[in-house]
């Protein structure tokens, strides 16, 4: 997994609530057995017509936002299915950070496993960043994970909260499994105890 430390990029405004994982990556693209290549179909049904032509009004099709690395969106981003294809598609497109008032639980966790930083901020702050994002390609937003700040193109600084362990893993690009396997003796001990107390499991 790639480290996430700082990011300076274009933010694309997507002012919709309840953006679900079916919108982010429709099911017909879940038929892959790979993690890569899904960016081409990110937001497929909003981005393309049925015959594959670009829908010019969709934000990521506008010239100013084609290189966006940050999304600013409405409440409950990533609700719906547990498909990790959603963060894979975002990452493959080039999105490294999503800012929204709230995120669905499984999507939120999935982001961290893929080097994407989901930032939850109060609605008023997201409203300000949404307006900032609407300025287009000249407006670059700065993210500093270590300092836990988002800086708008006007230089306004907003702090965000995040779990210390998740931050540590993201800053260092750490593999969860490798870390958990360091605690294998605890897992062994737990299994030994459980074999006595709940042998039917």
């Amino acid at each position: 997994m790639d480290k996430f430390t700082t990011l300076s990029g274009i933010a694309a405004p997507l002012p919709l609530i309840n953006i679900d994982t079916d919108m982010i990556i429709p099911k017909q693209f879940l038929k892959t057995i790979k993690r890569s290549g899904l960016g081409a179909n990110l937001f497929d049904e909003m981005r393309f017509t049925q015959d594959g032509a670009e829908i010019p009004d969709f934000v990521l099709n506008k010239p100013a936002y084609r290189e966006a690395q940050i999304l600013v969106a409405g409440d409950n981003f990533g609700c719906g299915s547990s498909r990790e294809h959603a963060p894979w598609a975002l990452l493959d497109f080039g999105i490294r950070c999503v800012i929204a008032p709230s995120f669905a639980d499984i999507f939120y966790n999935n982001c961290f496993k893929n080097g994407i930083l989901p930032i939850a901020l109060p609605q008023e702050t997201v409203d300000i960043l949404m307006k900032d994002a609407e300025k287009g390609a000249n407006a670059r937003v700065e993210i500093d994970l270590d300092a836990q700040t988002v800086t708008s193109s006007d230089g306004e600084v907003f702090s965000f909260e995040l779990d210390a362990f998740k931050k540590h893993c993201l800053l260092n690009g750490l593999d969860d499994i490798g870390q958990s396997l360091q605690k294998v003796s605890s897992i062994d001990a737990f299994e030994a105890t459980m074999a006595q107390s709940r042998p039917w499991v």
Partner: protein, 468 residues
């Protein structure tokens, strides 16, 4: 000892490691696996040279992307994509030595129906799967939730999950349900009350007389949609009905082990003075048969209501409702019972169990679906299908004009060829009405099996109480 909720008790019983910052390794008792969210996880294991730590606790079954039409045992009858995913699961199950129910096995079906049916899911367990509707298994008093593919790989490698504890929410449904009102109406009504983000950060325990009165099938329907309310999991304390359901199932404990298990299971309830972070109390008699009208599962109204006006909402929901009414082709003020459908889908992990099929058959018996309407029933498992055939339900469905399919997820997520065409409108017993969920441009109304059957007869959303 301080009082605990049911969730607290299961959590404590599965804590394999707790770091100083509160990050925990939660031990996983059952890991269910399907073909769509697992290939990348097995590939990760191969690349790192890691085995599956507990293959005896890992159960795989293809369901999401399998055809539900006859002749599917022959791979030639699958689409190229399905064939690749199913073949990958076949191979991974073999290579890693995990339990497996292939497409050709009569026990194959939707993973959340197969798990309980085979006795893999038991009270007090932790159950995970790379699918958000893993919440279903909470009906047994198990802590069950969906995980992403990276977490699937983590569980395969370590049999644990990195977790922080969620908050406790209690949803109590007091009193008795009115005739025609079902478990599906309860769960949709609750989401209508909380919203799709209302449960975010919580584990919901459903309790109260109306929940106690439900069968295990009904309880699974309720817990199944905890995720649509945003919750990490839904859970119902086990009781005699739970034990009765589990006893004698192939992988349930037997003899002395059964007695020991039941003794522990009987301690699995929330203590009277347990602390709740949030409590929601609903009177069962306030719940009518409901349908969804929009493109979010929170867009729930009684069948007797009318399509709402976007202006009656607040904040971001105003635009969201405008967008969804446009997508759904509905007009504010239109009676929901006037909305015509051209497709009816009965099935899914929400409503693909035997009780659901019985409820639909009760309405359909001796009647015919509306001319020109496409109606299909997809049983949740091969065993549900066999039982429905034995009980004569299959004949009722076929005589009424329903397609009688093989088990799988089918039109719930429309990965396989069972899809809506643009503009088609479906009354569905599944769990999501998102834009494009059942096929690009397809319009979905969620409802109970009895309501879906009623809609099949009339060709419009219909109050089942008029037909009963």
């Amino acid at each position: 000892m301080s009082p605990k909720t049911l969730y607290d008790k299961i959590w404590d019983a599965h804590l394999a490691h707790e770091a100083e910052d509160g990050t925990c390794l939660l031990y996983i008792d059952r890991h269910l696996v399907h073909e769509v969210t697992s290939p990348q996880a097995f590939e990760g294991l191969r690349m790192a040279g890691r085995p599956v730590r507990a293959p005896d606790k890992t159960i795989a079954v293809p369901d999401h992307n399998v055809p539900t039409t006859a002749g599917r045992n022959d791979p030639a009858n699958m689409t190229e994509d399905s064939r690749i995913q199913v073949a990958a699961l076949d191979q991974n199950a073999k290579d890693f030595g995990i339990h497996y129910y292939p497409v050709s096995d009569v026990r194959q079906g939707i993973v959340h129906i197969v798990g309980p049916e085979q006795g893999w899911t038991l009270p007090g367990m932790t159950v995970v799967c790379g699918d958000s509707h893993t919440a279903t298994h909470g009906a047994f008093g198990a802590l069950a939730h969906g995980i992403g593919t990276s977490e699937v790989e983590h569980v395969l490698a370590t049999q644990t999950l990195i977790q922080k504890k969620s908050k406790n929410m209690k949803v109590e449904i007091t009193g008795k349900l009115a005739p025609g009102v079902t478990a599906k109406d309860i769960t949709l009504y609750v989401i209508g009350q909380t919203g799709t983000a209302g449960g975010t950060g919580y584990v919901i325990e459903y309790c109260g007389e109306a929940i106690r009165d439900l069968s295990m099938e009904g309880r699974m329907t309720v817990c199944n949609m905890a995720i649509e309310g945003g919750a990490r999991a839904g859970i119902i304390a086990p009781d005699e009905k739970t034990f009765e359901y589990c006893q004698g199932r192939p992988h349930a404990p037997k003899g002395a082990a059964w007695e020991a298990a039941v003794a522990w299971w009987k301690t699995l309830y929330s203590d009277d003075d347990a602390a709740w972070d949030l409590v929601l109390t609903i009177k069962a008699e306030d719940i009518a048969p409901v349908v969804t009208w929009g493109t979010s599962p929170e867009d729930v109204l009684a069948i007797t209501d009318v399509v709402p006006d976007p202006a009656s909402f607040e904040g971001g929901k105003v635009d969201a409702v405008r967008r969804s009414l446009d997508y759904m082709g509905l007009t504010p003020g239109q009676k929901l019972s006037d909305v015509e459908v051209d497709t009816v889908f009965i099935g899914s992990c929400t409503n693909g169990r035997i009780e659901d099929l019985r409820a639909a058959a009760e309405i359909l018996k001796g009647k015919k679906v509306k001319d020109g309407l496409r109606a299909m029933i997809v049983p949740g498992s091969g065993l549900v299908r066999a039982q429905a055939e034995e009980e004569g339900l299959a004949d009722i469905f076929k005589d009424a004009g329903f397609e009688w399919r093989l088990a799988g997820c089918s039109m719930c997520l429309a990965m396989n060829p069972d899809q809506l065409k643009p503009g088609e409108r479906c009354a569905a017993t599944s769990n999501r009405n998102f834009e494009g969920r059942q096929g690009r441009g397809g319009r979905t109304h969620l409802l109970s099996p009895a309501m879906a059957a009623a809609a099949a007869l009339t060709g419009r959303l219909t109050d089942v109480r008029e037909i009963m």
